[in-house]
Symmetry: C2
Amino acid sequence: MELLKQRIQEEGKVLNDQVLKVDSFLNHQVDPLLMMEIGEAFRERFKHEGITKIVTLESSGISPSVTAGLAMGVKVIFARKRKSLTLTDGLATSKVYSFTKEEWSEISLSSEFLSPDDRVLIIDDFLANGQAGLGLIDIVEQTGAQVAGIGIVIEKGFQSGREILQSKGVRVESLARVQSLQNGRVTFYKETGVHA
Amino acid sequence: MELLKQRIQEEGKVLNDQVLKVDSFLNHQVDPLLMMEIGEAFRERFKHEGITKIVTLESSGISPSVTAGLAMGVKVIFARKRKSLTLTDGLATSKVYSFTKEEWSEISLSSEFLSPDDRVLIIDDFLANGQAGLGLIDIVEQTGAQVAGIGIVIEKGFQSGREILQSKGVRVESLARVQSLQNGRVTFYKETGVHA
């Protein structure tokens, strides 16, 4: 997605070889118009998958998921990172390790909102080591629903997330695939055929 | 906002006299089409305020803020509930007590995204005791920006939040004002003139 890559080049901050900060349009400040373009891009890529629900993880996954939900006309469920006091019955839960925060957290989702008839698109802001994606696949499958694909806004292609998620038999689509953050510069993979 | 009140009546769960659970369209599962109507309603109520930015609090405030941002053509900043490892410089912070969770948390916002020229609309999903709103006003004002108003999706009008926020001189607009949750039923205030 060219517009997204441009914004990453213009506004992304490369903190080191591993960390790309995009707080000005995705992770802290959100540009709703860019998010709408992102939502449309997800709709285009998954239009033949019969998606009935979107599942994401709070908080940074919510914005692109809501715009994808608008574009596709389906509801969005955001998994929570810890149990809240008003969310207790019928929870699907999984443990997820964050390499960025160096901690385990429990993610959970009310299974009442998914059924075996659902074909779920999982959306997340970043793909790095694939741990959040694995946890999301786990809780969706606990409800009996089917994971139809994973849509990622920015993939750090030099980390192992894609292989890990694809090894689960899940289709992975990224709107921007970063090849390297070396020398303070963002380079992307060529896109030819990636989303054929 | 009649459509919102209908959804609250149809899908809201009254857990007790104090707690209304709307997990099926706002706080866990999100209905993007309803969120877009909510975004348009905020645009209509604040159209003469010259809003340049929206500020909200993760996570449940993000969906209605992104659709309001779409409707109004302005960017959205979601304040974080604790410091993240990649968010360190130039933070405005405030402490907020949650009566629901019975705990203090620190909320923070990168001051680089607001300037004294900004007129900020604060949006949140619920208004109860006004503590989150006070914290959001605090961090916005720390950046020198001006709070032009507070937009609330659901106000629990039998709690003190509105008085607390109005005592700061801030205009408060709620799309649904709950008068009572007694006897397991949701009743709303009459809307006449409320958003004149």
